[in-house]
């Protein structure tokens, strides 16, 4: 993993809290993300990852606490934050009845980017993601992998300083997964900070410089992958999954109406 991060924090989160009624989804969370790093944000279902990402991308307001992206407050400087980030959410943000080009033009226009600039930026990324020959086709005719690649191009139209990705390779075939992972590394080499939320431990381990493990709305551990592995000294050649299970336990998490309960306990790992 190539490391081109510097010591400047591009994301600063301090005492962040988000409550939905009586349920606390994010519980006094603080962490920083360094400029140019790939930051893996891991946690079981309902741990508060997506809520934190929604706050950082200005899609949700925090109940209390502070968060800054590229020195701009996510509450008071929303537009500045929005111009500096790209979002690849869990659901693909594309319209099925528009062509790939039309989708990109539409989203580019929402950032007030001239058509020419949108085309230039599209050209820049679409070839690398092997989607150039499909530009004039309606997105509804695409496979999941093709949609996700156009979805990534859409998120990059603003030339973001920080790219947030929520499960970017979920449900994709190994070939597309490989293309996307290689692409993300290249992107990071060019200086783009990446915040990656995933349940795929191999992916997190392969890509991340720093990993934060969230559980019950709190940061349970945050460090480099190498350092985190030291938390499981009894395991020979530990993986990130061993660390994750050690920290978050082996119980499945079921969420209903904002309540999290533990259900079946599986046998020892």
């Amino acid at each position: 993993m190539e490391n081109n991060q510097d010591d400047t924090n591009i994301i600063e989160v301090k005492n962040l809290v988000k409550r939905f009624g009586k349920f606390t989804a994010v519980d006094n969370v603080s962490f920083n993300v360094k400029k140019g790093e790939i930051f893996g944000f891991l946690g079981p279902n309902g741990a508060g990852k997506s809520t934190t990402i929604r706050i950082l991308t200005t899609l949700s307001l925090p109940t209390s606490g502070e968060a800054k992206v590229s020195d701009h407050d996510v509450v008071h400087g929303q537009d500045q934050v929005r111009r500096r980030i790209g979002l690849v959410a869990e659901k693909v943000i594309l319209y099925n009845r528009l062509t790939a080009d039309e989708n990109l033009e539409f989203f580019g226009s929402l950032y007030h980017l001239p058509k020419k600039v949108v085309h230039e930026r599209t050209e820049k990324w679409i070839y690398k993601l092997h989607m150039d020959e499909w530009r004039k086709q309606q997105v509804g005719t695409f496979s999941t992998g093709m949609k996700q690649r156009i979805n990534i191009v859409r998120a990059l139209l603003t030339e973001p300083e920080v790219l947030f990705l929520d499960e970017p390779t979920l449900g994709l075939d190994p070939q597309t997964t490989h293309v996307i992972r290689t692409f993300l590394r290249e992107l990071n080499d060019q200086g783009v900070t990446i915040v990656l939320t995933t349940h795929d431990m191999n992916e997190a381990e392969a890509l991340s410089d720093t990993v934060a493990i969230v559980d019950h709305g709190k940061i349970a551990a945050i460090d480099t992958v190498e350092n985190l592995k030291k938390l499981v000294p009894n395991v020979k050649d530990p993986t990130l999954e061993d660390v994750f299970l050690k920290i978050t336990g082996e119980e499945t998490r079921d969420i209903a109406s904002g309540k999290i309960t533990s259900s079946r306990r599986f046998g020892p790992h």
């Binding site: 949700s60 693909v92 594309l94 989203f107």
Partner: protein, 398 residues
């Protein structure tokens, strides 16, 4: 402000492109008003629309009077077509049997002594038999038959008076100018605000137009927002540096364009297929439709804000739409309703839009006649928007 409008237009254009490319939605969108107008146009009969109605006539009179009545019924015409198709029946019971078997929609029994009774200057009695299983057709048929019998009676009366006058002229210093002045001393003349006859369809066309346009906006807006919310595409718009207001205005703009287009389809169908005459200004009709749409946008946003899923939005809207269909006076005049229902009806913007459209389309009213309705539509729209916009902001910040 300009940016707000431009951003709204980008979203509207995207929504409309998506809509036009969805062939099934497009076809339903065009067919729905055609289907609705055709259905309403043909299921609600007017006197003019009654043609070739099967009636049974039991002419038991062997004299001239009975034959004259039958011929008169056979030759009764509306818009160039025969009103009745007369079938011979022997007596009252057979006519009743015919109605029961739904072979005929009513009947007439001419008594055997009709000619002789009239000749002896006595009052004769013709029996009209009605089909009580179909009150609407039956009421219209009865009316036409009664008018026909009364007309025939008048003719006989007039000829009798004429012969009487010959004898009374000698004694009366001032003989009447016409025998009808004896039989019917007072007659009434009906006049309207515009020339020509109007029928139920003229009444209902304006109601349907307002209803189709406004419900399209209401359902379309809520469905569009909740669909994007469900699919996740709304996040893509929300994460862009544009104002929340331009998102909802863009969605409202797209739905309004769709609604107006549907309104024009209904208008064209009414005029060219069902012969509705628009006595007032077409521009004013469009203004009412546009303000009607405006009055519904706030409600649409409220529903979108309340329901995060398309299905919930549809159910919520059904709750609004269903009572509105009956209460707004689209199909039945408000005056027929009890006072309390009339009061409730006047809380609905659709009622005002329909009233304004009727004043313009049927009575040839101008802007001064519909001023109050237009003010209500604007105020209703503004108030619901003021309530709805902060709620929408809350929805997207959840």
């Amino acid at each position: 402000m300009l940016n707000l409008i431009f951003d709204a237009w980008k979203i509207a254009r995207k929504d409309l492109t998506e809509f036009i490319r969805d062939k099934l939605r497009l076809v339903t969108f065009i067919i729905m008003p055609i289907f609705m107008m055709t259905l309403v146009g043909f299921i609600f009969p007017s006197q003019n629309s009654l043609k070739n109605i099967n009636i049974g006539v039991a002419n038991q009179d062997s004299g001239k009077a009975g034959t004259t009545v039958v011929k008169m019924l056979e030759n009764l015409k509306t818009n160039g077509s025969n009103v009745f198709k007369v079938e011979d029946y022997p007596n009252l019971d057979s006519i009743k049997e015919g109605i029961r078997e739904q072979k005929i929609s009513g009947g007439l029994v001419i008594p055997s002594d009709l000619t002789s009774t009239l000749a002896s200057n006595k009052q004769a009695d013709i029996t009209i038999v009605q089909d009580q299983s179909n009150p609407q057709i039956s009421a219209l048929t009865n009316q036409i038959l009664q008018q026909a019998v009364a007309g025939f009676g008048q003719e006989i009366g007039a000829s009798k008076v004429r012969s009487l006058l010959v004898t009374t002229e000698k004694v009366s210093p001032q003989p009447p100018s016409s025998p009808l002045a004896f039989i019917q001393p007072i007659k009434s003349t009906i006049t309207g605000l515009v020339s020509g006859k109007t029928n139920y369809f003229d009444f209902v066309a304006s109601g349907i137009m307002a209803m189709v346009v406004m419900t399209a906006v209401l359902t379309g807006l809520a469905a569009s927002v909740s669909r994007e919310n469900e699919q996740g595409t709304l996040d893509g718009i929300l994460v862009a540096p544009i104002r929340r207001l331009s998102i909802i205005f863009g969605k409202a703009m797209a739905q309004s364009i769709r609604g107006l287009f549907q309104g024009i389809i209904v208008l064209l169908l009414s005029v060219f297929l069902f012969g509705v005459t628009i006595h007032g200004s077409l521009l004013l009709v469009m203004l009412v439709l546009a303000l009607g749409i405006f009055s519904f946008v706030g409600l649409g946003i409220l529903v979108s804000a309340a329901a995060s899923e398309q299905e919930t939005a549809t159910q919520l809207l059904f709750m609004f739409q269903f009572p509105m269909l009956f209460l707004s006076g689209a199909f039945f005049p408000l005056q027929q309703m009890p006072k309390i229902m009339q009061n409730i009806a006047h809380l609905l913007p659709l009622t005002y839009a329909i009233e304004a459209l009727r004043k313009i389309m049927i009575l040839g009213g101008g802007i001064s006649e519909v001023r109050n309705e237009l003010i209500v539509l604007v105020v209703f729209g503004a108030v619901t928007l003021i309530i709805a916009l902060p709620l929408f902001n809350r929805l997207v910040k959840r």
